[in-house]
């Protein structure tokens, strides 16, 4: 039994729209063990990014934390004062965002952007900070790192900018790295480089990683554990090998089946009928029930709880069936 690097417990995020409010993240719980890569999977609007942002306490104005705890080591991040939280960001938990083009400030040299956080946290000199920045750029595979500290974001390609973002997130060697779709905007050959880099750093620095993605192919290649979200809640959580061998939730099964790689060319792709439910619509019962082929009367009557089906596998479904491709 390894220790947990990050524990998210009954997290609730409420979003406001005009005069109504809804839980966009509803009682989400999961654990990232030390040195583990956990993938948070789901489609647009399922609450995966809001979950990450609430761990960082960087929620947008329209959203607010409505309950739950985020344990990083001994501390509950949700209870920290803002100045205490600021000290933890970057140093203990760091986040990389999806768009490397917009997350870097175009008007500052990357050397400045890399050292800024470092200087705010550490008492070292500017020279020490630059040395550290060059070291990190080198680590993420940017050639001639020292010379390039004076360059601006536009002088780098998309893949290099994403690597700079990673270098920036790693300046203070955080225990936990949260990566929100870090490769979605990148080409596949570059994506492969970045994923390998993140895994290599995990091995080298003993970092724990929470990777948010919609790409089950990526999950299959990097995850130790998988947490599947649907309409704001966790519907299945399992060790990656178990999950891919035997996904149990009808939504997870549907997602896997609908991927083009599993159906012979020319044949119709299996689809999940219907659409993601409106967050603000009243809901009873299982949130996936209206789209589910295995739906029974009890599914509509009461919301199934997230239950342990075996040692490491949790599931929110009354009537799971074995997976047939």
């Amino acid at each position: 039994m390894h220790d947990a690097a990050l524990v998210v417990e009954s997290l609730q995020v409420e979003i406001q729209q005009r005069r109504s409010a809804a839980l966009a993240v509803d009682n989400v719980s999961f654990t990232v063990g030390n040195g583990e890569v956990v993938c948070l999977v789901g489609e647009s609007g399922c609450g995966k990014t809001l979950t990450a942002l609430s761990i960082m306490r960087l929620l947008p104005e329209a959203a607010q934390l409505a309950g739950g705890r985020v344990l990083l080591g001994q501390d509950d991040l949700t209870q920290l004062r803002e100045d205490e939280m600021r000290r933890r960001r970057g140093a203990d938990v760091s986040m990389i965002f999806q768009e490397p083009m917009t997350a870097l400030d175009p008007s500052f040299a990357i050397g400045y952007q890399l050292t800024e956080t470092y200087l705010a946290h550490e008492s070292g000199s500017k020279a020490a900070a630059r040395a550290r920045a060059a070291e990190m750029l080198d680590l993420v595979g940017i050639a001639g790192a020292e010379q390039r500290l004076g360059d601006y974001p536009h002088q780098f390609s998309g893949g290099m900018r994403q690597r700079i973002m990673i270098a920036m997130a790693l300046m203070l060697e955080p225990n936990v790295l949260i990566a929100d779709e870090p490769t979605t905007a990148l080409d596949v050959t570059i994506q492969a480089q970045i994923l390998e880099l993140i895994l290599g750093l995990r091995d080298k620095l003993g970092m724990s990683v929470l990777l948010i993605t919609h790409d089950l192919g990526v999950v299959n290649e990097v995850a130790d554990r998988v947490v599947v979200m649907y309409a704001g809640e966790v519907v299945e959580s399992a060790r990656a090998s178990d999950f891919f061998a035997n996904p149990r939730h009808p939504y997870a099964q549907g997602l896997l089946r609908s991927m083009p790689g599993l159906t012979p060319p020319g044949q119709r792709l299996p689809v999940i009928r219907g659409r993601v439910p409106d967050l603000f619509a009243p809901r009873t019962g299982c949130r996936f029930a209206p789209r589910c082929d295995q739906c029974q009367p009890d599914c509509q009557a009461a919301r199934p709880p997230l239950e342990r089906v075996d040692d490491q596998h949790e599931l929110r479904c009354y009537h799971p069936r074995p997976f047939a491709e």
């Binding site: 489609e43 050959t189 192919g217």
Partner: protein, 344 residues
């Protein structure tokens, strides 16, 4: 096909679309007199045949020229050199009625279902925009659009609604409806499902396949997603920095890729099938730019099978004696994947 403008009686083996030596250069730097001194060669001499009823996929990474090529095929931009023939018509020199007929017969679907529909227009207006020349009465026009919406599985109840009222998948259906409304024979689909969620993506891919069968459409399908391409395409052209580096029937390309770039590209795709220990070809470095490219193989800087010749001249796209007949590759030192050893 009533138009006399189109060459009559093409032989059945003639391709619907025939592209030869197509080049597009964009000036990127100019001297004091405004003369270009430096060019980005987005499309650098492409030959391509697309036959009626087939789906040809163009694949490659950003900057490889696949979207520029798509726009050249439809004459949405003018090429620097080369020819495009559509059913015998010289597209690049067509004008007047010939060009209008071509524009009806060759349509495009864009990637971004949010940016490609005018928010001020109703669905009815968007889909019927290309029908003005038919001079339909108002009720006939509504009826015709309702029929087309039915083909893309949208109810006629949406006729008077605006794009912002729809989800990404529904908007893509509206874009498809607009494209098929004028009765095209060729549809160029530029990353039609890349912006969509996985579960929505599969419904749109199914729809595109259904429409191809029902309306006898020919597709040029542009995508960076190899699993989508494998599912949809009959033939695949792999592009790298403006050139086609390999072209083959889909199955052949995926099972027996010959070009080192194709091999690296396929092995980089995250997959549900591969176990983690399986060998992967790792490319080093980023894609170089296509500004003033050297007369050499442009992949040479990242290639693990580079030989001296690769930096001295451009490898032609050729058929190799060791592979299937309609499989061509532009490489001086190709090898099947099974013969590759120690690539890392």
């Amino acid at each position: 096909m009533s138009s006399a403008a189109i060459t009559p009686d093409p032989s059945p083996n003639d391709p619907l679309l025939r592209v030869r030596s197509l080049v597009k250069r964009f000036p990127v730097r100019r001297d004091v007199l405004g003369r270009p001194t430096s060019h980005l060669e987005a499309v650098a001499g492409v030959d391509l045949d697309v036959h009626t009823g087939e789906t040809v996929a163009l694949v490659g990474e950003s900057g490889c020229g696949k979207s520029t090529l798509a726009r050249l095929l439809l004459r949405l931009i003018e090429p620097t050199a080369g020819t495009v023939e559509f059913d015998g018509l010289d597209v690049l020199h067509a004008s007047g009625r010939e060009l209008r007929t071509f524009r009806q017969q060759a349509q495009i679907i864009f990637q971004d279902p949010f940016g490609s529909l005018d928010p001020r227009f109703r669905v009815l207006d968007i889909v019927s925009e290309g029908m003005t020349h038919l001079n339909l009465s108002r009720s006939d026009r509504r009826a015709r659009v309702a029929e087309i919406l039915e083909l893309v599985e949208l109810s006629s109840g949406v006729l008077d609604r605006y794009p912002h009222e729809f989800s990404g998948g529904q908007r893509q259906r509206i874009s498809i409806a607009r494209a098929i409304a004028v009765g095209p024979r060729l549809v160029v689909a530029d990353e039609p499902v890349s912006a969509l969620d996985v579960s929505v993506q599969s419904t749109i891919l199914n729809l595109l396949s259904d429409l191809q069968d029902r309306l006898k459409l020919t597709y040029v399908f542009i995508s960076h997603d190899m699993s989508v391409v494998r599912h949809m395409a009959n033939r695949v052209a792999v592009m790298y920095l403006g050139r086609i580096v390999e072209m083959a029937p889909a199955r052949d390309l995926f099972d027996n890729p010959q070009h080192p770039y194709t091999q690296a590209l396929l092995s980089s795709v995250p997959s549900l099938h591969r176990d983690r220990e399986s060998r992967r070809i790792r490319l080093v470095g980023d894609v170089p730019t296509a500004i003033d490219p050297p007369r050499a193989c442009l992949f040479a800087s990242r290639c693990f099978r580079r030989i001296d010749r690769c930096t001295e001249s451009v490898p032609p796209l050729e058929h190799l004696p060791t592979i299937e007949r309609d499989h061509t590759v532009a490489c001086f030192n190709p090898a099947p994947v099974t013969e590759l050893t120690d690539v890392s």
